[in-house]
Subunit: 203 residues, 2 copies
Amino acid sequence: MPRTTDKRVRLVDAAKKLIHEQGFNLTTLADIAQEAHVPLGNVYYYFKTKEAIAEAVLANRARELHEALQVFSSAASVKERLLAYLQSEIDNVEQTVKSGCPIGSLCQELAKQGGPLATGATQLLNDTLLWIEKQFQAMDMGDHSRTLARQFMATIQGHALLTNTFKDPKILEQLKPALSAWIDSLAHTKKVTPSVEKMEEYA
Amino acid sequence: MPRTTDKRVRLVDAAKKLIHEQGFNLTTLADIAQEAHVPLGNVYYYFKTKEAIAEAVLANRARELHEALQVFSSAASVKERLLAYLQSEIDNVEQTVKSGCPIGSLCQELAKQGGPLATGATQLLNDTLLWIEKQFQAMDMGDHSRTLARQFMATIQGHALLTNTFKDPKILEQLKPALSAWIDSLAHTKKVTPSVEKMEEYA
DNA sequence: GTCTATATACAGATAGAC
DNA sequence: GTCTATCTGTATATAGAC
């Protein structure tokens, strides 16, 4: 963390990094203070509690996420938009190898302790899911958009878990051709047999 | 926890339950002792450290897993064997809604702290993955068995994460017809076009 | 606004009576 | 083998000098 930027920003950045790498419960305020080059006692001038820092981290991730989704949304086709999202995960694959998906692993951990932190983390996954669902709606997938969105997100989250567990970036990287083909197969299936029944084969 | 069974067993069962529900780091020895109806000081007669209890829990889960895989293996067809595995996850869906997949969430948490516990948790996922891979090999999927196994497991783990995050058992339950159809499509694809290229569409 | 020193709480772990 | 009492370390959080 650069020593020059605003302390509040440095603290949030440090917390964001350490919470991802070590998890929320294992990360101490002393860790965060050290990483941010801020004396421990000074942390409380900026944040009343440890939870308050975590909330700031969640807000930061939310802003970051919405900016990213905005960028992905500018791609011309549904397929390009969905693959842009996947590509952003692949761009961070070394982080994922080391510590898992920043959002997914946070949800796993915070879901267990409930409270406002769990809600905030869930919101991140939910916003992403809604964005993905919108893409499938643009593909005229109608009622199946939600199921397809879950399938898409679960595939990425599941592969992120395996990538982290087995420390192998290829697991996530190999998803790109596979999901690309999957999206094509959906469009293809739709053209050939627009019946609802056929959809379920891929849902 | 019944007060009558052996204390060591009660401690492991209590730790297993609480670690699943609260995570390893948030679960204290006092929690475990209370749940097992064992005085706190007595815990150390059975386990030297907190880590030692966690290792016993992992060993317990490993035994349980291997017994289950043994049972699934007795089904007649590959499809039935794979669906038996999925069904076992669905049978525990209320647990998953509450606390996520016992193995997957443990891997997420313990991967971040490294050490022998992370290795033990990884082993559980790896053993499962190898068993799934064996099933696809029995379907003559050859080199693609590993990729298909990852896809299968990632789908289940990903949906377990969403089930837990969004507190909705249907997310996991709806997987059964979807994965069933997916397995059929693999077999069908294989019969119609046994080329490697076509496989990747579903990988 | 900044930082040192410290209060408070509770975790893991131990000693030793029974 | 069992359990109470306690040690020790460390985390969150506060008080108050500068």
